[in-house]
C-alpha cells in the first residue's frame, strides 16, 4: 500500500503527462503482479463494489475524529472530497502497516458482506495505522474513483512502456469485462486469451472539435459528413447469439436497452456497430432530455419503454463476419454497413411491398438526411402495419430499432455549412466530418475525424445564487445559478432561475466574482448564498427543451458561462420568454 500511495501522490502532484507516465511505468516495473492488476483496475474505474456506504463512513469518521457530524459535513463541503476530508480529520497515529494493495482490496471485497459493527472496527483499525496520504488513498478505494488526471489512455501508455507491448493492443486487452480479483497479470496483459473476446468492445475513436476554418480541410469530396447525434455513443456487439451494448464510458449497458435484444438473429453474429443510442418517442428522434429518463435506470418499466423507446443510429462498422475491419477505409466500412442495413430492411420487404408506395419511401429515407422525411417514413410504416395481413410478423419487423446515421453528400463547404445550421431542428449537435479513406483509430486523435458543432445558443442572465466549488475550487464560490426576467400576472417583473453553470470564466475572473459574492451575500442557505442581482453573464448552451422539472419550465443542455457582460445592467438581461423563443417550434406543439 505504501508503494501505491506513493504512486498516487506522485501522479497527483504533477500536471506533466511525461512525469505521470514515467511514474506509472516505474511502478509497473517493480510492483507485484497482483498489485499491478489492481492498479490497472483502479485506474480504469474497475473498483470492487463499495463495501461501506458514505453515510456510515461520515458518521464513523466524525465519531473517530471526535467532532459532531454537522461539523464533519461542513468540512466535507469545503474540502470537496470525502476521502480527503476523512483523511484530514482523523487524528494522527504513529503506527504503520505493511499490508499490500492487493491485501487491502481483498479485505474490502470480504468486508462488503460483513455486519456494520465489523466494518466499523475494520475502518477504525486501518484509519489509525495508515499515515495521512495512505489513509486518503485507502478511503478513496472505498468511496470512489481517483481523479488524479490519469486517463485510461495515459495509463495504457505507461503500461506499454513498462511491458513493451503495443499501446493499441493493450488498450484492446483492457476493454470490457474482466475481474481484477480473478484474473492474473499474465492472463490480462501478457497472454492472448480468447475467452473474454466475446463481449469485448473496441476502443472508441473520438474526434476533436474542428480548429480552423472548415475550408482548410481541403476538398469537400474527400470528406464524408453526417449529423452528430445527441445521444449516447455506444458500441453494439453481436457475437455467438448474444448482444453486448457498451457506452463510451466503457460501461456495459446492455440491460438498460432491452429494445436491442431484437437485433439477435437479425444482425449476424460477428458484427460490431459503432452508433448512437437515441430516444425515439412518438416515432421520431427526441431530445437528450428525453433520453435522461432512460439513463441511470437499471430496470426499465414497460411504461417507460413505451413512452421513451430508443433506437440505434449506426455510424460505423468495426467488425464484420468476426473480422476486425477497423483498418479498412471509412467508406468501405460504410458500404458494408449500408448493405447490412438494406438486407435487414429487406426482411420486412415483402410486408412493405404489400403497401402501395412504401418501397420508394424507404429508399428516400435511406438517403435522406431530413428528419421530417424520417418521420414520414415511420408514420407511413404505421399505415402499412394497419393494412397488413399478418400483424404479428409486421410489428416484429418494424420494431427492430436499427437506423443508419445517413451520410450526406455536399458539393461545397457552403452547402455543408447550411446543413450544419439545421442541426438543432433535427436534434443533432452539428456535423461530423470524416475523411473518406480514414481507418478507425483508437482514442481521441486529430486529423481524420472532426466534430463541427453548431454554435451554442446564448442568453444574457443574472447571477442570483452561488455555491462553493468542489475539489480544486473548494475555497471559491464558483458554482452559480442564473435567472431571467419573467413577467407576473400583475405586470411585476421577477427573476426566475433557469440554469446552473460552473465553468467558462478564467481563474482571475472567478476570483473577482467570488470576492464580490462574499461582500454581496443576501442570505445563506447552508452552502448556498443568494446574492444581490447585479452581474449579467452570457450563458451558452447546446440544447433546449420544455421541462416540467424546472421552475422556469425549460431545461438547457450543457449550460456554461461564455462571457461576463460587465457592460450590461440587470435590466438588460433577457426574459424567460426570450429563452422559450429559442425552443424549436416543433417541440412546443
Amino acid at each position: 500500500m505504501k508503494h501505491f500511495a506513493q504512486l498516487i501522490k506522485t501522479l497527483d502532484s504533477t500536471n506533466k503527462t511525461n512525469v505521470k507516465v514515467q511514474a506509472l511505468a516505474e511502478y509497473f516495473k517493480i510492483a507485484s503482479d497482483t498489485d499491478k492488476v489492481w492498479t490497472i483496475a483502479i485506474l480504469s474505474h474497475r473498483r470492487p463494489p463499495r463495501p461501506v456506504n458514505t453515510t456510515l463512513l461520515r458518521a464513523w469518521a466524525s465519531e473517530l475524529a471526535n467532532i459532531p457530524l454537522w461539523l464533519f459535513e461542513e468540512s466535507y463541503h469545503i474540502v470537496g472530497d470525502l476521502a480527503e476530508t476523512i483523511a484530514l480529520v482523523i487524528p494522527v497515529d504513529p503506527s504503520s502497516t505493511d499490508k499490500s494493495l492487493t491485501q487491502f482490496l481483498e479485505e474490502m471485497i470480504a468486508l462488503k458482506k460483513k455486519p456494520d459493527d465489523e466494518k466499523k472496527v475494520y475502518l477504525y483499525e486501518n484509519w489509525e495505522v495508515l499515515d495521512y496520504y495512505e489513509r486518503f488513498v485507502f478511503t478513496k478505494l472505498i468511496t470512489g474513483s481517483f481523479r488524479i488526471g490519469v486517463s485510461q489512455k495515459l495509463m495504457t501508455r505507461a503500461l506499454a512502456k513498462a511491458t513493451e507491448i503495443d499501446e493499441d493492443i493493450l488498450a484492446y486487452k483492457l476493454m470490457g469485462n474482466w475481474n481484477p480479483d480473478k484474473i492474473t497479470f499474465q492472463e490480462l496483459i501478457l497472454e492472448d486469451n480468447e475467452s473474454d473476446y466475446l463481449s469485448k468492445p473496441y476502443p472508441f475513436y473520438l474526434a476533436y472539435a474542428i480548429e480552423n476554418e472548415v475550408n482548410d480541410l481541403g476538398d469537400v469530396e474527400d470528406w464524408s459528413a453526417e449529423h452528430k447525434w445527441d445521444g449516447i455513443r455506444s458500441q453494439v456487439i453481436l457475437r455467438n447469439d448474444e448482444i453486448f451494448v457498451w457506452s463510451r464510458g466503457e460501461e456495459l449497458v446492455t440491460d438498460k436497452y432491452p429494445e436491442f435484444h431484437e437485433f439477435i438473429g437479425v444482425i449476424p453474429n460477428g458484427t460490431v456497430i459503432d452508433g448512437e443510442i437515441l430516444p425515439f418517442p412518438k416515432g421520431q428522434i427526441g431530445t437528450f432530455n428525453d433520453l435522461q429518463k432512460r439513463i441511470g435506470r437499471k430496470t426499465v418499466s414497460k411504461n417507460l419503454l413505451a413512452k421513451v423507446p430508443v433506437i440505434l443510429k449506426a455510424y460505423d462498422l468495426l467488425e464484420w463476419k468476426g473480422k476486425d475491419i477497423r483498418d479498412k477505409a471509412f467508406i468501405e466500412r460504410r458500404e458494408i454497413l449500408e448493405n447490412l442495413f438494406r438486407e435487414i430492411r429487406n426482411l420486412d420487404g415483402p410486408i412493405i411491398d404489400k403497401s402501395n408506395n412504401l418501397v420508394e419511401v424507404k429508399k428516400e429515407a435511406l438517403e435522406s438526411t431530413n428528419s421530417e422525411q424520417l418521420k414520414a417514413f415511420t408514420s407511413e410504416k404505421k399505415v402499412a402495419v394497419k393494412g397488413a395481413s399478418n400483424e404479428k410478423l409486421v410489428s416484429n419487423a418494424v420494431k427492430i430499432p436499427f437506423y443508419l446515421s445517413e451520410t450526406i453528400h455536399f458539393s461545397s463547404w457552403e452547402e455543408a455549412a447550411k446543413e450544419r445550421e439545421r442541426s438543432r431542428e433535427v436534434h443533432s449537435e452539428g456535423l461530423m466530418l470524416k475523411r473518406k479513406d480514414s481507418p478507425y483509430l483508437v482514442g481521441r486523435k486529430k486529423g481524420d475525424w472532426w466534430k463541427w458543432k453548431v454554435d451554442p445558443l446564448t442568453i444574457d442572465a443574472v447571477l442570483t445564487y452561488a455555491m462553493r466549488g468542489h475539489g480544486r475550487r473548494s475555497n471559491l464560490f464558483t458554482d452559480y445559478t442564473f435567472a431571467l426576467w419573467d413577467e407576473k400576472e400583475d405586470g411585476e417583473k421577477e427573476l426566475v432561475t433557469f440554469a446552473k453553470a460552473y465553468s467558462g470564466l478564467t481563474d482571475a475572473e472567478f476570483r473577482k466574482v467570488d470576492n464580490w459574492i462574499k461582500k454581496n451575500t443576501l442570505e445563506r442557505f447552508g452552502p448556498v448564498r443568494s446574492v444581490t442581482p447585479h452581474h449579467v453573464f452570457e450563458i451558452g448552451f447546446e440544447g433546449i427543451a420544455l421541462s416540467s422539472r424546472h421552475k422556469s419550465g425549460v431545461a438547457t443542455r450543457f449550460p456554461r458561462i461564455l462571457r461576463w457582460r460587465k457592460d450590461k445592467k440587470i435590466e438588460e438581461a433577457n426574459a424567460l420568454s426570450d429563452l422559450k423563443d429559442l425552443i424549436p417550434s416543433k417541440l412546443t406543439e
Binding site: 484530514l88 468542489h470 471559491l476
Partner: protein, 338 residues
Amino acid sequence: MKKPLLEFTDKGIYCSAAKVYLDPWKPVDKAIISHGHADHSRWGHSQYITHHRNVPIISHRLGDINVTGKEWGERFTINNVIFSLHPAGHIIASSQIRVEHKGEVWVFTGDYKTENDGISEPYEVVKCDTFITECTFGLPAFKWTPQKEVFEDINKWWAENRSEKKTSVLFGYSLGKAQRLLKYLDTDIGKIYTHGAIENMTEVLRPLVDFPETTLITRDTKKEELLGNVVLAPPSAHGSPWIRKMVPYVTASASGWMTFRGARRRRAIDKGFVLSDHCDWDGLLESIRATGAEKIICTHGYSDIFSKYLREQGYDARTEQTQYGEEEDAGLQETTTA
C-alpha cells in the same frame, strides 16, 4: 444598557471609552495596530500605536506616518482604559491587543499562531473575559505538523531539484512567510535568491533577526547561476514574465491552504508544503480554553462554523464581520497572510 468595551463598527473595532480603534479598515484618528499585514495596518490614520519592533515594518509599508512604539506588556492608558500589547506569534512583532476597563478585560488577537517559529516572539496566553479571535483555519481539517518536519521536507525538495539541475522557486508572502522560510533553508544545499518585494522587506527585518545571506535577482542575474539554487518569491510572481528567467524550474508554495489537494492544483503549483502562520484547529481551541474567556467573538475565517462549534461546547460565541483576511477569502490568500 451599558456599551460594550469594544464594538464592531463600519470603520473597525472601536473602543468608545477611549475613542480608539483597533486595526481599523477606514481612516481614523487613533489606531492601535496588531501587526504589519496590509489588512490590519492600513493607510490614512492620524496616529498609529504599535509594538516598537513593528514600527520599521509599517513605516516601510505606509511611508511617513505618526507612530508610537510600545514594549511587550507595557500598560498605557487612554481615557482610563488600559491597553497593552502581547506577543501573538503570527509574524515578527505581531501583537494581541489587551483592553481593560473597570475590571473587564478584552483581548483582540489580530492574527496568531501557537507554534514557536523561532523568529516571531512566541504567542502568550492572556487571560480575559472576552476573546476576539481570528479563525482563518477554524476547521478540524486543519492540523499542522511541527515546522521542523516541514522544513526537512522543504530542504529535501530543494536538494532533489538541485540534483536534477533545476531551480527551486518557493512562494511565500513577502512579510512573514518569506522570512520564516529564509531562516530555515539549508544554505549547505545552495544559494538563496530573492524577488525584490521579499528582499526589501527582509532588509527591514535584518536588524531584528539573524537571516542567511540572500541575493536579489536583477536584470543582470544570469539564468545559469540560478540553476540548482532556491528562489523566494511572492505568490503573485507565479505565472509572471519575471519567473521565466528561472527555467528549468520547479514551484512550491508554503501555506496552510496547501492542506487541500485542490488548492495546489488550482494554482498549478508543483508542490505544496503545509506551513501556516495561523493557528490550526487544535491551536485555536487550546488558546481559547487557556484564556479562560467566556465570551468569544470570531472574526475572519470559517467564523460561522467555528462559532457554532464553540456554542455547542458551551461558550457564549458569536461572529462579527470585519475586513480582515479579505484577500484570503478571495483566494489570493498567500499574497498577504496565511
